[in-house]
Subunit: 154 residues, 2 copies
Amino acid sequence: MKLPVSTEWLLHCAATLAQLEPGASASAAQLARYFDLPAAYLAKQLQELVKAGVLTATTGPRGGFRLARPASEITLLRIVEAVDGTAGPYECREIRQQGRGALPPEQCQNTCILAEKMAEAHEAWRRSLAGVSLADIIATLPATTPARTRSRLT
Amino acid sequence: MKLPVSTEWLLHCAATLAQLEPGASASAAQLARYFDLPAAYLAKQLQELVKAGVLTATTGPRGGFRLARPASEITLLRIVEAVDGTAGPYECREIRQQGRGALPPEQCQNTCILAEKMAEAHEAWRRSLAGVSLADIIATLPATTPARTRSRLT
Ligand code: FES
Ligand code: FES
């Protein structure tokens, strides 16, 4: 199981935007230069974060992207699920209902215990990522980092 | 991120073998009929469980597969990682070290905080699956299930 390569891009772009002055924004081109990423593809991915309510896109000559809400309210889960969707990695195709061992439908009204345990593991993963916000991430950075970030975002 | 379709097959095959009488085994062909799965491909996948120490392959006319250890010592994690490997879904390609924002190598001796948080989430997932054994799964089945399973595994 693999998350898309762009997951790392968007986590870092969101963490970068969380270091701007209030009200400031950065364009896809600026972010692409900052991380040496393909600008057009990055721009498309940033739009996914807009759709997910993580970023706001502003237009005009100084337009770009900024956080749509306080950094403390944007969790890593929200960013990761904006990139990859909310489905868990395990797919149950109800194999308990096929073949010589097939269980009758009336014994399959509850979720299969194996699918249930796989779903619980996915929930543990989600809870872990839901417990970390961009504000938590920024709080771990050296105090000088945000000023450096802003100065290099050109 | 997706786990292979065969993850469901092998979880169910292992749970099926956990319902046999001590010392009994079942062949790939029997398991394939039981779940209506492609026998040759299933046989290959079962060999992965042998390599992982979950199953033992026995040879001879009544040969087949059986659990390599007590069901209480075989966790869902072990089965899932035998199928899909142990790598987490998130790949850090060190984008913090590239582009205009590149951090100098001396500031990158620790794992990036974002990669660290993604790894923590993967560990939460692993812990969840490591906490469930095949014995736990079998204990949730109706008391009549193992006899039915054995009688249909022909
Ligand atoms: S039937 Fe799908 S996990 Fe059991
Ligand atoms: S450099 Fe890879 S997650 Fe930060």
